[in-house]
């Protein structure tokens, strides 16, 4: 393809090809402090014009790669950075088989990893990003990678994707850590945030899972914490996994091991400060 960029995020290397320079230039700037990739890519991503003239006329970025969703809708070229991030996520969701993949955010402190998962809108990504600025190490805001042999969580600290109201919470972040503000994307307003230097420097350092949280957000929710039994946690995590079934018995061993090793809580919150306090409470 015309333009190419290779990125390594934790244990995963991507080769990204694009018909246009712009999306790769933005990626290059945001991922500048990341280590050099190690040669062979796990996944290839292609940002390509759906039709040849779409390179120039109302350019729209088709999301393709080693693994494809037949009905993945193209994005406008000005949302090219989002297209690239979505394309990388898609490869992980459809093609990752080396780890048990959970749609979950992870943070770590004192060698103990906290895994948060919930329906979209539960705020796991925002909570992880906030914790990442407050003494925790952000391991990932989107995917948790569970090691199939050791059950350790591997960091996957990609760009944090801040949505709508969450963008304002990070207005003070240094400008070099922020991507362009993307208006009117299919997911609303989006802005990417590069994780802290610490998260990037330690991205090859896994951590054992110590707690599982199922956060729920509602404006009128009473603040609440309740323990979640291992069987319920198991079922909810199978639903949060993109490759549990494909991994067969190894997935079963890893997930039962995970819920046996890490106690789980459900937390309800109505504001982020309250949620952060609950996280501190539970993890103590």
């Amino acid at each position: 393809m015309r333009h190419r960029l290779d990125l390594r995020i934790g244990p995963v290397t991507f080769r990204i090809g694009s018909d246009w320079r712009a999306p790769l230039a933005e990626l290059e700037r945001l991922y500048a402090p990341y280590p050099e990739p190690d040669g062979i890519a796990d996944f290839t991503v292609r940002l390509e014009a759906e039709r040849i003239w779409r390179r120039w006329i109302r350019p729209s970025v088709g999301i393709r790669g080693d693994h494809n969703l037949p009905d993945a809708a193209p994005l406008a070229l000005r949302h090219g950075l989002l297209a690239a991030e979505m394309a990388m996520n898609l490869q992980m969701a459809l093609g990752q088989r080396r780890f048990l993949l959970l749609h979950a955010a992870t943070v770590e402190r004192d060698g103990k990893a906290l895994l948060m998962t919930g329906e979209s809108g539960a705020g796991k990504s925002t909570l992880a990003a906030l914790l990442g600025e407050r003494g925790w190490r952000l391991m990932g805001d989107e995917f948790a990678l569970v090691d199939l042999d050791t059950l350790a969580l591997h960091p996957f600290p990609r760009m944090i994707s801040l949505k709508n109201e969450a963008i304002g919470l990070f207005a003070d972040a240094p400008p070099e850590r922020l991507g362009p503000l993307l208006q009117d994307t299919p997911k609303g307003r989006i802005r990417h945030l590069r994780p802290c230097a610490d998260a990037i420097a330690r991205m090859d350092e896994p951590a054992p899972p110590a707690f599982i949280l199922f956060p729920r957000f509602g404006r009128d929710f009473e603040r609440a914490v309740r323990p979640v039994g291992a069987a319920e946690a198991f079922v909810r995590l199978t639903q949060a996994s993109t490759n549990y079934i494909a991994l067969g018995e190894r997935g079963f061993e890893a997930l039962t091991g995970l819920v046996a090793a890490a106690p789980a809580w459900g937390i309800d919150y109505s504001d982020t400060d309250g949620a952060l306090a609950l996280v501190e409470e539970v993890s103590r």
Partner: protein, 342 residues
């Protein structure tokens, strides 16, 4: 080397792995053609860069669990159909895996394909519907088209397990001008311990050849040709394999497809074939070779004009021209669906 030549060569000659410079491109090409698992199996004993070896090892494990699930699906179909007492013949990937053939090693397996006698189609359909399978889509035109002209029932999907089954009663559409002898396919099929059946070795090769050329536009051709290479290498150890293959190909009116598949397999994978059956190589073979290798290092399909020609050709093979016009007209008038898996 251009296109997927290098991938074909790696499959045929694992030792050529030491020449590979760009593994990322190999893996993209292999994934685009569902050959990563097969490649993993072929390169098992080679000395590879650590990362390449790990990607292939993961692909092989992935294949193992996909294989388990496919064989289970076949077993569930067997349980649903056993009371009918009709022969049920597994086809393609599931058959290779169930029979433990080399062609099945690392091979991706999609839907479950079975062949049953045409006269049993009604009761087979009823038994599957009773056991939890349901129609994938209720679309009048497609439905009518399938029942009247295609060689299979419209696809069914199991409501709990979410897996598709294709029930065939012959191996080419009824509209195709060639008429394979479906009764003979079933008659000569071989029963396995489970009670399920697989095609006889020559029929399996012939079906694979028919599938390569007549089904679709050869988009997954390199993989289908790999099946043929593996089947032929394994079966040709039997002394009378070649004479039986020639005889059966004539009987099914599939001599031309079988011969061409053998010639292409020799060209791309170095398959040892009987020269008399393969026949001399016509100029047209070169176009087929180019079509099969039309994939670049990013996993993209190349040669759009050649691919379009093959797409038209595949429709033309399936239907007489007047019907083709009617079909393309109906397809064209309807809103375009998520562009076929071309």
């Amino acid at each position: 080397m251009r296109g997927s030549h290098i991938l074909a060569r790696l499959l045929a000659d694992p030792a050529s792995a030491e020449l590979v410079r760009d593994w990322t491109s190999i893996f993209s090409m292999a994934r685009a053609q569902s050959l990563l698992g097969s490649l993993g199996w072929r390169l098992e004993d080679q000395d590879l860069p650590e990362k390449a070896a790990s990607i292939l090892a993961v692909a092989q494990r992935d294949y193992e669990s996909a294989r388990t699930q496919s064989l289970w699906e076949a077993e569930m179909a067997r349980r649903a159909l056993a009371p009918l007492g009709v022969p049920v013949v597994l086809l393609k990937g599931t058959a290779y895996a169930a029979a433990g053939l080399d062609a099945g090693r690392g091979r991706s397996i999609g839907d479950l394909d079975i062949l049953v006698p045409r006269e049993a189609l009604g009761e087979v359909q009823a038994a599957l519907l009773a056991a939890g399978w349901e129609w994938v889509k209720e679309d009048e035109y497609d439905d009518l088209y399938y029942r009247r002209w295609m060689h299979e029932l419209p696809p069914l999907i199991h409501k709990e397990r979410d897996r598709m089954i294709d029930v065939h009663h012959t191996i080419l559409p009824l509209t195709a001008r060639l008429k394979p002898d479906a009764a003979a396919l079933i008659e000569d099929s071989v029963e396995m311990d489970s009670g399920l059946r697989i095609l006889s070795p020559p029929d399996m090769v012939i079906h694979s050849a028919a599938h390569l050329f007549a089904d679709g536009d050869m988009a997954g051709g390199l993989r289908n040709l790999w099946d043929i290479d593996r089947l032929v290498r394994q079966f040709s150890e039997e002394p009378d394999f070649w004479s039986r293959l020639g005889e059966r190909a004539r009987r099914h009116q599939l001599e031309a497809a079988t011969s061409r598949a053998l010639r292409l397999a020799t060209r791309l994978y170095g398959t040892p074939v009987e020269a008399r059956l393969a026949g001399p190589r016509p100029a047209l073979d070169l176009l087929f070779e180019r079509r099969l290798l039309a994939r670049d290092g990013w996993g993209r399909a190349t040669r759009p004009i050649l691919r379009f020609a093959f797409y038209v050709r595949s429709h033309w093979l399936r239907m007489p021209p007047l019907m083709l016009a009617r079909h393309l007209w109906t397809k064209w008038r309807r809103p375009k669906k998520a562009a076929s898996n071309v």
